[in-house]
Subunit: 351 residues, 3 copies
Amino acid sequence: MPNAAASLSLGQLALRFGCALRGDPARPVDSVATLAGGARSLGFLANPSLLPQLQAVQLAAVVIQPRHADRCPVDALLHANPHATFARIASLLHPPAPLVCGVHATACVHPSASVDPTAEVGPFALVEEGAVIGPRCRVGAHAILGARAWLGADTRLLERATVLAGCELGARCIVHPGAVIGSDGFGNARDGEEWMKVPQLGRVRIGDDVEVGANTTIDRGALGDTVIEEGVRLDNQIQIAHNVHIGAHTAIAACTGVAGSTRIGRRCMIGGGTGIGGQLCIGDDIVVAGFGMVSHSLTEPGMYSSVLPVEEARHWRRIVGRIKRLDALNARVKKLEGSVGASQGEDDEQY
Amino acid sequence: MPNAAASLSLGQLALRFGCALRGDPARPVDSVATLAGGARSLGFLANPSLLPQLQAVQLAAVVIQPRHADRCPVDALLHANPHATFARIASLLHPPAPLVCGVHATACVHPSASVDPTAEVGPFALVEEGAVIGPRCRVGAHAILGARAWLGADTRLLERATVLAGCELGARCIVHPGAVIGSDGFGNARDGEEWMKVPQLGRVRIGDDVEVGANTTIDRGALGDTVIEEGVRLDNQIQIAHNVHIGAHTAIAACTGVAGSTRIGRRCMIGGGTGIGGQLCIGDDIVVAGFGMVSHSLTEPGMYSSVLPVEEARHWRRIVGRIKRLDALNARVKKLEGSVGASQGEDDEQY
Amino acid sequence: MPNAAASLSLGQLALRFGCALRGDPARPVDSVATLAGGARSLGFLANPSLLPQLQAVQLAAVVIQPRHADRCPVDALLHANPHATFARIASLLHPPAPLVCGVHATACVHPSASVDPTAEVGPFALVEEGAVIGPRCRVGAHAILGARAWLGADTRLLERATVLAGCELGARCIVHPGAVIGSDGFGNARDGEEWMKVPQLGRVRIGDDVEVGANTTIDRGALGDTVIEEGVRLDNQIQIAHNVHIGAHTAIAACTGVAGSTRIGRRCMIGGGTGIGGQLCIGDDIVVAGFGMVSHSLTEPGMYSSVLPVEEARHWRRIVGRIKRLDALNARVKKLEGSVGASQGEDDEQY
């Protein structure tokens, strides 16, 4: 929960974030809020379906697209991208807690580790042999940075985040509590009825500006590396298997799993609860709706889905029965086609 | 694993828990067990399909409904709700380990935090600035209570449970190991091909008597709060996104994900592995069978499902082929209907 | 990330691992690699579809089946099971970091715990009352071994792994970071609109040579125990509910959930993202493809699936509409059959 900051005027905000201002430049703003917020807060409206809610707004001002300005009964900051502008202003008004430079008395830092003097290492944090912590990094309480691991400038490992030996993160990353980066991949070789563990020898390499959600796990590569390019956003409880490669600016929502050696392109958006099989290639600009099952490669940009929305349970059971007898239904239609002499609708024996 | 307690007599148990006793009031009971347990243990039977198992029972007694009493060959405690009565007796006979009041020598407690003298703060626990710990709370080993967070009386954070800044829990809650309460929601605004982080400024507010499972994550609200009302039960590895609201006494089984701003009513039961989309409204008394995909709001109480049970894999592949060609099958039927002059079964062009 | 070791000759490797050698016995090997590796590395080829890649290989040698030896342009170690042989050699060349025997200065070990002098207890580790740590075990940084818990010889709890009170692990197990073994099962009894917690009194018992993935959770039994037999492999973020029993040498991929009291046989392979319902019986040698929904018992060995691969989203929406109207389509076909006097294809009223 970021802190509150001092107030700024609408004029200062307009200047700083490149907005046109419609209203009083001296009006003070000290926080951001929903459209239901109070007289010293700033809201935003990006979704036109919410325009009717503007009637009752009592905010200091609203960040809004120029074409909707006339609908806004209070002052307005006009910008083509209200959501991103709002995010920037919110980050300014509610910055993260300032760093407490230095190593907490209870932390355990190996003498060979390199900790920039502007970085913070929190209570019970562990920094192992040869690890490198860049300027203005934060290694939170109970976080672990393994041997020879590497954090770029301004990167923050939050509470209990774990980055294991040899893994590298770029600048300005955030790793949320409980995430594990660099766990062993699931590498097993059959030997009779037993499994032999295959040593997992690669690393995880993460670019700049990546966010990794709470309790998400990213396995190290088996031989090569697992790679997360810059700007990727991973939500909570995601599993990324060994040797996966995720392209820049792709966002993946919670509870998604990506199996080994799959390559996902740039700017993809993967909905929550999605499963992506192993050794697939997902191109750039692919969108998968939540709960999708991706079991083959996808190359064409576009939106994909396999969600089956819930039905009333008894009706659903009847439908499942119908689904499981689709072969029989098809045969009945084929027989009817024979009876009436219709031309067959398709080559039925291809499956 | 709770401890064993001293023994009690059947007469004492009957009196304390409002049961009619059929048998020897002096018979001692020192533990609870399955129907296969021994002569000093108490079992229960709630599911009538297990009645035949009673024949071989060697327990001290069985908690059972009055209408089944005649089937029980040993002593019986009669109660309309055997399962709940058994749960109460089990809690009495096997209480959690007693608290060790005070702060462990290795814990780290900020001087401004308020720790009730009857509370326990375990090894390597971290209690940050301004946090408040109520009477008889337990903050387990490696648990974290963030700045200005708040625990009501008798609440227990178990090992490695993490409650981040500003979040509040009511009385008698249990947070299981590895759970994270108050992680940032997945708030991102598009800006060209990049994502801007939207600061997550709300909190998580949890009512009384809530249980949060191991490695479950509950995100703080983006602007308002994420709210879990009293008596909610969350199993392991559940993900609750920002600004979700869960009504009282709802139970959600493991591996379920609930996307942002969705509102779930009271007394719902959500099966394991369910996905619930964002910005939906799920009413009171809704039951969703396991593996359901909820992508639209549900208002009518009742049971919902979209589970597709596994089939032999080759047969399933044929079925998937049929499913994907349902449009073509429908067209063939329509053509047949034209051929035989049948009236069309439905308005086929609505989709 | 295991360490590098000294080099060995091909002759030494052939002798030690029972391979026929085709090439120079004196050639040195100091690491394993993919087929793209360098002149002092060893690769392997098990999948015949990769044979064309051998053309460009510059490795010291390749572990390969005898029948493919002629296709290999560099030296070859011939073995019927190249993958398992490669795993063994990789383990030799890249052993895990050696143990640092003894208890780290920051660890917290109860005086009644038994720690073998050859074991390592890492920074901030917690070993509680009466716990037993066998020879050559590693209790990693921030790991927790609860009261009266038990680790067999050579077992390793990695960073932040948590084994709660009374649970037992056999020899040579590995528990990856963030895993929780012995959390309470989801035991709740309805009492009016409230839930009563049912104390979870059993343990988790794990056999020899079991691997438990990062952030996986295994609940203790409600009354009896949860049991994982020897040689089982559990990937990351798996949930195993109370009183589940998993047979020897079964492997389960990531993000799978198994509900309470289900019994899974030996040598099963369960794909990632699978859901397995409660109180089921899954036989030996069952294979479930990823994203499967197992809601009934499976007894016949074989492969099962219910995966629905994603489609282009608009097409998929049309298909979902068709699926939900399968009853109507069936009725139309039945009516057609009546019209043309065809015999009905199946007993349609059984559902």
